[in-house]
Amino acid sequence: MTTITIPEGMPQYGDVPRFDVEKVRADFPILGREVNGHPMVYLDSGNTSQKPRQVIDAMREHFEHHNANVARSVHQVGTEATEAYEGARAKVARFVNAASPEEIVFVKNATEAINLVAYAISNSPAASRLALGPGDEIVISEMEHHSNIVPWQLLCERTGATLRWFKVTDAGRLDLEDLDELVNERTKLVSYALVSNVLGTVNPTSAITARAHEVGALVLLDASQGVPHIPVDVADLGADFLAFTGHKMCGPTGIGVLWGRYELLEQMPPVLGGGSMIETVTMERSTFAAPPARFEAGTPPIAEAVGLGAAVDYLTGIGMEAIRWHEKELAAYALDALGTVPGLRIFGPTTPVGRGGTISFGLDGVHPHDVGQILDSVGVEVRVGHHCARPLCVRYGVPAMTRASFYLYTTTDEVDALVRGLEQVRKVFG
């Protein structure tokens, strides 16, 4: 690895917060298992993360001792369940530095969070600042997950608005050359990934949010790959909405988060109707609760919220800054190590700057399916395919990619196992 000497007086590498990765690994029961007779090397955290005992225990504890429905019971257990659910909301709010817990809407996953905003927009009356129609534009990017493409395509179909997008440079960065033209007076919303799930790129925010707000557009950040890996402070980011998903941040599946600035959430009409989201109901019509309840129709994922709260506590205990550094060092190590594999091409930033610990690559003459299969035979679990970002694969002229994605429990030994596995792949297909 290339090391740079940092001048005296500047913050040194030694000052960076760190943690003992072996101690962290001991918290994750699944990391002790084998796959095909080899110790499992789990390099698919970008897909879903593993869960620490603390999260598993918190959910079991909830079911064993506090299970009841929320917000509609006067009894003791119901009160405990409500406190647990609302407590999780408060934890998540603190984790991303939201102005208040009421800015946190619990949903099923990031996909639902994004769709919620899209449907609230098309449900908005023409007089609303959220209303969208022919002539209006929505801007996304070429590096989006399908979750941040398809809802906007559908919204444009419903409203007659036009979809536009940032291009991606060869180096795997958003091409901001045309920022001022792309984001213009017609733009109503800019929605893009804080961190790319394929390239690992950490995208810039200030230039884009500044331009968007200058022309009166709102900004949604798909932070599905951001919140789990880097410190995220919504006050700092200057965005209007943030979407993320529990299962990629040590929490369970079935719970995700939409953060929105409260004055915007307040202007948004409901999307799903039902129990818990109303103020009063007559046979003719209903009035609706204030956010976040307005957007949480029906019985919510209660135990999942508790699990997410425990995940947030766990990550906070380790420290998001330390997790960011751990992954940065892994990325540096892996980029160097993968660079030694003949015929390997990295898609995205090849230096560990402005990127996280997710690395996609191609191996000359071998289809990613075959790469993934042979890696699996030696216990190395990676993702292969288009990673729900088909336009990005098209951008790079490949039908599919192989992706290794790291997290706080990933080690350099595991990166070595990946590189050894790739040698095996080359032998079989050589």
């Binding site: 289809h367 399916h369 299969q373 042979i374 035979s377 088909r390 039908p399 079989v428």
Partner: protein, 163 residues
Amino acid sequence: MEFEQLYQEIILDHYKHPHGRGLREPVTGSSVGEAHHVNPTCGDEVTIRVAADGDVLADVSYDGMGCSISQASASVLHELLRGQHAGQAFKIMDGFVELMGGRGQVTPDEELLGDGIAFAGVARYPARVKCALLPWMAFKDAAVRAGVAGSSPSAAASEVQGS
């Protein structure tokens, strides 16, 4: 090692040296059908062109791109079905489909399936069964379009879609 079951030498050989690859112009007078199938989860693609002369599959040509399993399967399909009577071709196809659906429990009939028996190991990997079946499902559709009797179109599309 595990992967040797999956990547039988026969499969790798068909992948690295595909037999009769490339779509061929049919001789005039034959009845032609073509189908292009895509596996949406991985982007593998295969096009199969069937040129029928009455009841005989005078040519079965193909093209595609994708993983070793899907492309080797197309090469084997070409080997097995070209020149066959429709009835026998569908018998072979049914045998191959049965083998792939057998989760490794079906003993393949070498007489019927030839090099296709190398795919027996693939049946143990549900994620890869679709790769192996991709050209066969495309063939099924192409045969219908070529007006070859004994083929039913409906199952084909649904089997490669999904997941």
